[in-house]
Symmetry: D3
Subunit: 335 residues, 6 copies
């Protein structure tokens, strides 16, 4: 029996065989290795859950998200049927491993994430950060803003909660309910360049919304989506995102999905959007704006059940964004 190969001699492997980088892309251990690979996209794990107020477990998410999907080798066969594009042929995707996040110090974890994201940017890649709780957006988006210039980056943010709390438990500045405030207060991202989609539920209190209004933040709660329809709201959110910043950072808290679609998360909030809506939104945004970085956060594998559907959804959020980036590049080349 001869080995199983495709026409080019690449050996076929089913998804349960072999190592577990994201989409089986090459693995870069160091910043030098990454730079040597001339990456278009760098996958970075941010295994942190110290910022979680409710159910922990997000530290286990980067590994679970990488193992989602049914993709074996050759990974160059991955094909987005809607866009008609092979993302791993068009883009050079590299798995840059995990930031080294100790479980006892949010500060050290954030420092490690900041460093990895910065290294990815310096290597010319779009960093794609797999959280981790939402506190990781603070070092990640800060690194991006420092690289491209404070005030030049906007954030499109899918979430059930705005994450703009002043303090976490009264005394602590860091936590998964505060990163967006920190980014605005530091000047990294101007308030009016923030667009939030999917808010609902019972947090934060009204004074935080007042603060958000004062920052000229823009948000689209579920009640608006239910009334106007998801696609109308999405169109508006995209035009708001383009109104101001040169570049867009996309932050997807998986709890923007209804808990039916994402049970494995720290703060499930019933009444959310569907996975079809989220994937469509990510695809449209990534093919419309200048996407310079993204993260997917708040997947908590211990609460996900045997079907692991939350990790699968997070995996596809990334893949959908990457596919749209690949499509955009192909479009640009074809002009």
């Amino acid at each position: 029996m001869k080995p199983m190969t495709d026409l080019h001699g690449t050996e076929y492997q089913p998804p349960f065989v072999g190592p577990t980088t994201f989409l089986r892309t090459p693995y870069a251990r160091t910043a030098a290795e990454l730079a040597g690979l001339s990456p278009d996209v760098a996958i970075i794990g941010a295994p942190v859950d110290m910022g979680t107020v409710n159910r922990p477990g997000a530290r286990l998410a980067p590994r679970a998200i990488r193992q989602a999907g049914y993709f074996g080798t050759p990974h160059t066969d991955v094909y987005h049927m809607g866009l008609g594009v092979y993302p791993t042929r068009v883009l050079n995707i590299v798995d840059f491993g995990d930031a080294n996040c100790p479980p006892h110090s949010l500060e050290m974890a954030h420092q490690a994430i900041w460093t990895k994201v910065t290294q990815a940017l310096q290597a010319g890649a779009v960093p794609v950060v797999l959280g981790g709780d939402h506190s990781i957006t603070q070092p990640s988006a800060t690194a991006v803003a420092q690289h491209l210039g404070f005030g030049r980056v906007g954030i499109v943010h899918f979430d059930a909660h705005p994450d703009t709390g002043a303090l976490s438990y009264g005394e602590v500045l860091l936590g998964h309910g505060t990163p967006m405030r920190r980014l605005i207060e530091s000047g990294a991202v101007p308030g009016r360049n923030f667009v939030q989609v999917g808010l609902r539920g019972y947090w934060p209190p009204g004074d935080i919304f007042e603060w958000m209004k004062a920052q000229q933040m823009r948000w689209h709660p579920m009640a608006e989506i239910e009334t106007r329809g998801f696609d109308a709201v999405l169109e508006e959110a995209i035009s708001e995102a383009k109104d101001g910043p040169d570049y867009i950072y996309l932050s997807v808290d998986i709890d923007v999905l209804d808990p039916a679609y994402a049970p494995g998360t720290g703060t499930p909030e019933p009444g959310g959007i569907t996975s079809a809506e989220l994937l469509r939104a990510v695809r449209r945004i990534a093919s419309t704006v200048k996407l310079v970085a993204m993260d997917v956060v708040e997947v908590s594998p211990p609460f996900d059940g045997p079907g692991a559907i939350t990790s699968e959804a997070a995996h596809r959020v990334v893949l959908e964004a990457i596919s749209a980036l690949a499509w955009s590049k192909e479009q640009a080349q074809n002009v």
Copy 2:
């Protein structure tokens, strides 16, 4: 280090710290304690599953629903962003504990529930009953009808099944498939004051539907919702609910949700509504009619998976109704 407090000196606590009353509201052990607290709303657990024909476990639901949510202290920070209201500031909510339901006797369990609901009504509160299986609506709604007058209370009932069976297993009058019939036969609630939303599936047989028609009951199956749209049906259901009765009892069988949104239930029925639809419906009803009592039933934690999304959905059904009540009270005060 000083304790973590808000501006008013209230200590912050994350959701996993401290006791587990509903929303961390005060706990009243006895009817006298309850009355002493001048409650607007009284939360009552009804841990019964002897009425369940298929999968048991609803006896464990009151505890699980109370522990859902991500709400720590101070509970007065809970804020409904859509309605712009702080429910626990506007309403005095008290957790009145559980009815003492022995596992071997549905009669004794029902008696205990009837007593607790009556005590809550006498204390001036809107009773909110956390089931248990659907059989608990019989003692609960009977107590309400006795308090306000037979014939003066209507029921809006979200469910996959009408629960109007004649007998449970041929000989037994009580069970979770029969409570609505008992309420009509006793005269507590007139048939024409019943409005059912979400029916689907394969039960009961056609003769039961004939009986329902003879009682002038009104119902809106999923097939109608799919054709006309949820909101149109909801508007009609609300106007039917207001056509006749002075007061409304809201009964939500969590299996009205599709099993994707509520896997932890005794008789899952594919093809149901979404949690966004249910929460919207509850909010509209509670802010439109004179809501005098409600229950949420048929959550079965052992079948809910680690994400516990069914308990979360049930928790929000209650919170959405309470928020709407608070909003109505504020509206009335502002006039």
Copy 3:
């Protein structure tokens, strides 16, 4: 105490009592027994998962699907409230047990399935095959085409993936990614008589879609459904299904549902349809076309969670089709 019976003396039994044939219909051990029962519908288990590329477990599905539902005895009380029909009164449904599928040989398993389906057809029944992975459609639909004539049968196929791969892992002709291609290549089913609904995701590569186009296959991806609406696409799919073939074989891969509705499957693909949509589609198809056989595949109980909602969905897909068949028969008799 006398036994619990209905008016006709049939003993009532709750769903957790007694044996576990599908809907508690009679069980036929042999082809002779089946023929002796003059069946309209024959339920056949196909417990195979050797064809699965990703997560196994579909071998356990026929048993799990049979045990889904809340149906006790008498099974003649099962009533479809939307169609107003008692399927088990109108149709003679028989549970024909499982094909004897050894775990180590896909060939022998397929042979056993082919034999059972052929026996059911020879007994005059509509075979309803409970998979098993999707590879079982190959022997099942081949048997149907052989019975009714190559080229005379079309396939309506709900799935996230077209399952038209050329080879499975380079060398193997059989697998759950290839059955549709085999059916076309053998001439059993002409390419233009294939209609696929629900495709999405990242498989297969573009050259397979080229081949599909060359076969005149027709397909409706999720992107189209999102744009045009499910019902418009469904109507078109039905008219395409009727354009050509005399008979229709319905194949439902449960992963056409979004993973929220079907977490227990081998290759979950976020962004799918809802169970309400699938049940509606099955009902319309089965009451519109000449349905001669069907299968429901890719349920994997070990990945389904304690709520077992994927098995419940698969069970209702079958029951909805059978109800529509019963309704059609009643309509025909009433003319």
Copy 4:
């Protein structure tokens, strides 16, 4: 390809294929069918959990226990390697189905169990009852005592709890904490013919132990087993069991096992025996005393985890007893 058969032409089937009677033995629907099969052993399901005080779910156990094991066909290949016996060749084992236990009435459920056990005894079989909660021992052992004579039957009882409570929740005579008392009070089984093994924990209160002493009951708590060793205690228990009664009824509450071995039960009690100890004890008892009936109770599948090890243990308890019965019969025949 020809069918897979053994030398005698019996078709091989793996465990996941085909119907699910216990060990794939023949199924008798009625008492007449049972009698016609001249059974040595009759398997009877008693799907009851209304008697459960803590975690429900035992109603689902008979089905789960039947599906445990890895035994396909031909079932005559089942061979006990330690005893060197083929239990299903030596004994005629018949699956007599379930007693029809409605979920709302413990009285009716007990009546149905009493009837099935009596029918099995009348057919000459050793009834093997698969609970259900422990309340089922009351009708089951009563039927045996009525058949063989009040006072002539002793009970060997493995359990963490003596189940000799006076009343269940003050008012109710039936429940899973009281059956042993009822059997003694009715005179069915004399107190001194009771031998209990494995008691531990914190229930019942001391006055119940006083009552037990007054009845001359004999018991062996875990503390004694830890001090003297399991085998010494077992020998003494067996000689006590033979001291008095003509016949022995064996009742195994699966919670006699440590929760590590039986997590899926209603009232887990840490500090119990191992499955190796329990199987050894059952084997020795069944091959030493005149075993006339047995039950295995308190398996609760919803609490058992995906490995289903509690159902597996319960299945082997039955199989080990049956094997010992077969061995005894062979020994007697060889004399």
Copy 5:
């Protein structure tokens, strides 16, 4: 129907009814309330998991442990059959609630625990701390040593790991692998007053064992237990514990149990002791030494499975210790 009561008029309640303090003992909100109740034992939750290096979730343990057991009301019926004692009649046990542990700051969490333990000691109670990860032993045992005098308290410590690491991840002094070292370095507990039982596995490195030896710590690894037998080792450990200190603090890391008995923990280590051995050891120690405080740590409910056996085991560890304390008090009174 009259309410269900015992002879003294106390209402019976099954375990799933009512609030969830430990053993349903009274709840003290503040130090003043606690002192007012003249407690013998104070239960304190320490919901912390920031110190966990591997799998998180211990923050959810205090709640889960309180809900374990099958104990309803009246709680004074709880009876230890081996010791013949009613612990809640002999001792005044009070549930002192949880230390307020924010998820982002181990320092603040430790401070809150230190305060609660100190308050319990000042009220004259034996503090029983329900962890949380093992880092909580540092503030808890420090508070005890400060109260009774540095150097006067010894620790008997059941664990798979010695938790004597120098630094956690190189830079951080706090973590669940370091508390025992901190206690020795601060002088709170002399090294020779430490006795460890159950060590095994692959951590820490040899230099840490050198340090332990230099501190005159004493430990008994599993290899020794396997060779000499558990009871011989236990006797020696007890005599070592009494050799030196005036008082004993008992610290039980639930991972001293084999993972079969305690799957729900952060760092499972195969090859451990059984729950029967652990309960026996706790009983003997608590009735032999002067036990002044104890903790049970490292239960992680998200990893515990539906049977929740790890929480059950932890609950009984506490109850067994309390029962032994009650027995000792009774013995002393009878002299």
Copy 6:
């Protein structure tokens, strides 16, 4: 903040950070890379479950076993406290990845395993194969026997079942119940060089035991272990293992453990040994005989529960063997 490092500058990483080779050892992609690393031990995954007769899922085991343990970096800190050895300092361990096992062809999977094991042997390493179902021992042990000489290798085999079936389902030569027979029939391993420990249960039939006896195989069932004690049996098994062959292949079917210790397996068999016994046995064997290869098989992660204790046990079986090899090497060097 500077990076977290040890004294040698190696960066510390917690277990949830970074890639997932076994013990974080280096990864060799190809045979050349492996050879270039001069390995003492080569870890090889064999993700196969087509040979499984009962519950599938073993294809997912190699990945799960690699992710077990709490070991971060530097991996050279792993220290066996009982043997006083640092296995990864003494031995050069390399993770050689997975054999490429297609899911549909046991033949191709076996061929791939045979090749990897042969390559490891040629590189001078002890192959450690992580199954997969037990059928993988056939290619693995065959490769070893071919490398060292037919007849020169013996097998010590821990298992609940002897796996010496003649045919799997009548027709198929390969399967997880037959590999030991194939190895003897081919002459690779003489029957008298086989020692089996832990057999129990109800398979295979007696004629297979006759065949085993005719081959001079030696086996030690649980009944013997219960009578004589584990350690006495282990000593005899070791001396039998050394009686004849020059080299030993160790095959550990995880189901030799009682299901309490290994619920995540395909054919659980109650009444097995403990993890402490298995680890002790592996340690003694690996430090006594000339161990040339080993495998650990039949872990099935989907049936393992959230605690994943079966994967943890399998991981430690490997680590215990490797530690004993390291100890032996150190002993030899110290002479």
